[in-house]
Chain length 462, copies 2
């Protein structure tokens, strides 16, 4: 079996998979300030209507426009790879496969939805898109997509990452986007935060608030906001990852993986790989599906399942999700993409249903896994991705101990070539583990009091 | 036709191609300090004997050990890709193909020879390898190879690149190598240079001298030196690029390209892609083969074809090559990999024979080409690679003007994700063009006086 399992362009999936169609219990709707489900037109100042339609759709399969595929062909179908060198090092009977999303021009899975969103905005007549970015993966992906589709792009980048990862900003500039540190002086909310906390490292929640404010305040009506994770349509666009992986596994005679793993910050790379397998699990397949998060930002493993805002300024509708509270400001761990207080509602509803088994890891363990990866497979992974690798290693070791030939599949969400300062900190012993203290958690979730509560009823059998 | 043309592992070339077997005139031998051809044993303190044997071999095909292939499978066979988006943008009838060498873990073609050299050193019982690096591509490739083969690695990095590209140094450290700025205080020659020119940006020539001194002064006899370009065995190891490309072109029904292009600093990525096509040209095929260099370091287009040292301290044997003189200190242009005073003797002998048509470009033109590439194909290329892209664009435009459906093939030698400071300088208008003044050239080639002269006889018909 080759290390790389390519898929030809003609076999690229022509439809995205929508998990909302198959969830045992219906997805709980976003709520407005009045506690009532919001209507599509309430979102119209923020998103174009064609994307809002996807956001609320419960159609199982949604066609991918040919124009989007033509752009994706630059790197898709992405290779599925077998980590034979890691397997050998671990002396495991498990087969470890990974979907290599690092081969896109910005180096992660993010352009899968960036291209789709830029396309739908363009079709709707929008000229400019604003967004936020944490680690910079999303911002550079949207910059890339906007450049190829001829749209303007403005990115609010969380200050800690803006400072730690100057190359990501330069990357956005190569693709013609404007990138500024958040909180910034360009929005009312940014100025307010700067006044209150001039030294704040920023947060995704703050950056989201700024980007939305920027979009809705544009009087020409030709600016919209774009989100790189969390929302249903983002999960939808990412399912091309898992749909490709399924075809590729079949090509090498594998009917189904035993274990599917992805790191999860807002949930999009995890959902992209796993949702097509969640469908199989709903239909009876025996698959363990594991989203992995950092212990410093333990949304799924310690957060409440609650209605909460997606941003710090409470501008977004209330989403039913696992959350640490919208006021949560995470420690500046290096996995910037995993520092979000919430989690995609589709992922959370699947957790409520028992379809997923989330876990949390410390960052030192993850960097150790990243080094093992670099020294066996040879590639340098993103700090976010190292969480998935650490889980894959744990599962492969367990398979060895149990003497079982399991098939493990994980998402290699991005390379770490722009994240070498994190490796430097690790190698020089400057990194420490951080576990969110119980009283900090209590404090940050206090803002959830008084907000409506979603149902936690489990209707499935998992 | 797919954008990506993969090749399966079973079709990977099992032998390297040695151009020395087919050159119309025999390669002129390296000379010792006495002006007489050096013997293999004189190189023994610097290189292991199995590599020296390859260096002097005139055997046409040389087997690639299976152990090397097993390591290369991590990214080889590398994809051949068609630049359909660039073609469309240029409205050219030409088909533009490129061999994507950026997919290796260090991001360039360099590991093709790094892995081979580390392997042969290991087989010979060597424990530690020293080397120099310019842009950092080579140093990180050797660090990577040494890590996978369990050898120690020490890299002398040209100071200007060490400062401009901190991430390359971190990359080497992730793979366990020691990386220090050259000139350094760790060698006699380095200390001498630092005393004379404390503010020197360094040069490849100086760094080579330091790395050789470090290797030959190790009294245990278990250290050797490794060079990432210029020498015959390096060109040999790189021919896997062109041999793969040939197979991939055949897969899409193309018998031969009309034009083959590579950027050339020491010559290795250019030779790697082009030598298998040079063989075809010697055998009668009509192919234009173009090495591209910067006008700031115009070795092939303005240098003398002379016997010269490969390093500044005159420690290496004399090589018959196009050279700007071993005392040449290049301007700090951003294409660090193209700042070498000499050129691979095999490439130079092919130039003498009229088999190649070198050209030189200014850096602003090359960055413009890099931006065109990023905004059409979507990927961010290395500043070295931008020279090949600029030539490919020129040839595609010419094909449009002539109305000819030419097949253009170039080598995408590496990505530019670690080179974004160069893009930043370009985008903010801080870069200027630099043409080597005639009197500087005269001054730097003055050191060639008194050295033996190679034959410039052309025995072929090209």
């Amino acid at each position: 079996m080759d290390v790389k399992i390519p898929l030809s362009e003609k076999d690229i999936p022509k439809q995205w998979y929508n998990l909302a169609a198959d969830l045992p219990s219906p997805l709980q709707p976003p709520l407005g300030p009045d506690g009532k489900p919001i209507t599509p037109d309430m979102l119209a100042p923020v998103f174009p209507m064609n994307i809002i339609e996807q956001e609320v759709s419960t159609q199982r399969w949604i066609d991918i426009p040919q124009e989007i595929l033509e752009i994706l062909y630059r790197w898709r179908p992405a290779p599925l790879r077998r980590a034979v060198y890691l397997e050998k090092y671990l002396k495991t009977p498990a087969k470890i496969f990974y979907k290599d999303e690092s081969t896109s021009p910005p180096g992660s899975h993010k352009p899968n939805t960036a291209v789709a969103q830029a396309y739908y905005n363009k079709v709707f007549g929008i000229k400019k898109i604003t967004t936020e970015t944490g680690a910079g993966q999303w911002g550079s992906a949207l910059a890339f997509a906007c450049k190829l589709l001829g749209l303007e792009c403005k990115v609010y980048m969380v200050r800690i990452s803006f400072d730690q990862k100057p190359f990501r900003k330069l990357m956005m500039q190569v693709w013609g986007a404007k990138c500024i540190a958040s909180p910034s002086d360009q929005t009312e909310f940014g100025r307010k935060i700067l006044k209150e906390m001039p030294d704040t490292p920023g947060s995704l929640g703050i950056a989201i608030s700024e980007a939305i404010e920027d979009a809705v305040h544009d009087k020409t009506g030709q600016t919209r906001y774009s989100l790189g994770s969390v929302l249903n349509h983002v999960m939808l666009h990412q399912t091309i990852i898992g749909l490709e992986a399924k075809k590729q596994l079949k090509m090498v005679g594998i009917d189904k993986p035993d274990i599917v793993i992805g790191c999860a910050g807002g949930g999009s790379n995890f959902a992209g790989l796993s949702f097509p397998f969640v469908q199989d699990k709903i239909n009876g397949a025996d698959i363990e599906i594991i989203p992995v998060e950092p212990k410093a930002c333990p949304t799924m493993t310690r957060g409440e399942f609650a209605y909460d805002h997606g941003d710090t300024a409470c501008m977004t509708p209330l989403l039913a999700m696992h959350t640490l509270g919208h006021a949560f400001v995470p420690e500046p761990i290096h996995a910037g993409g995993l520092r979000y207080h919430g989690m995609a509602p589709l992922v959370c509803q699947a957790i409520v249903e028992g379809l997923l088994t989330p876990r949390a890891y410390h960052q030192l363990k993850c960097y150790e896994a990243a080094l093992t990866w670099a020294n066996t497979e040879g590639f340098i992974c993103a700090p976010e991705t190292s969480h998935a690798i650490a889980a894959a290693i744990d599962e492969a070791v367990k398979a060895r101990e149990e003497g079982k030939e399991k098939v493990i599949l994980f998402n290699y969400s991005g390379h770490g070539l722009m994240d070498l300062t994190g490796y430097d900190a690790y190698l020089s012993g400057k990194l420490a583990d951080y576990e969110l203290p119980e009283d900090s958690l209590k404090k940050s979730t206090a803002c959830l009091k008084g907000l409506p509560k979603p149902s936690t009823k489990k209707s499935g059998k998992w």
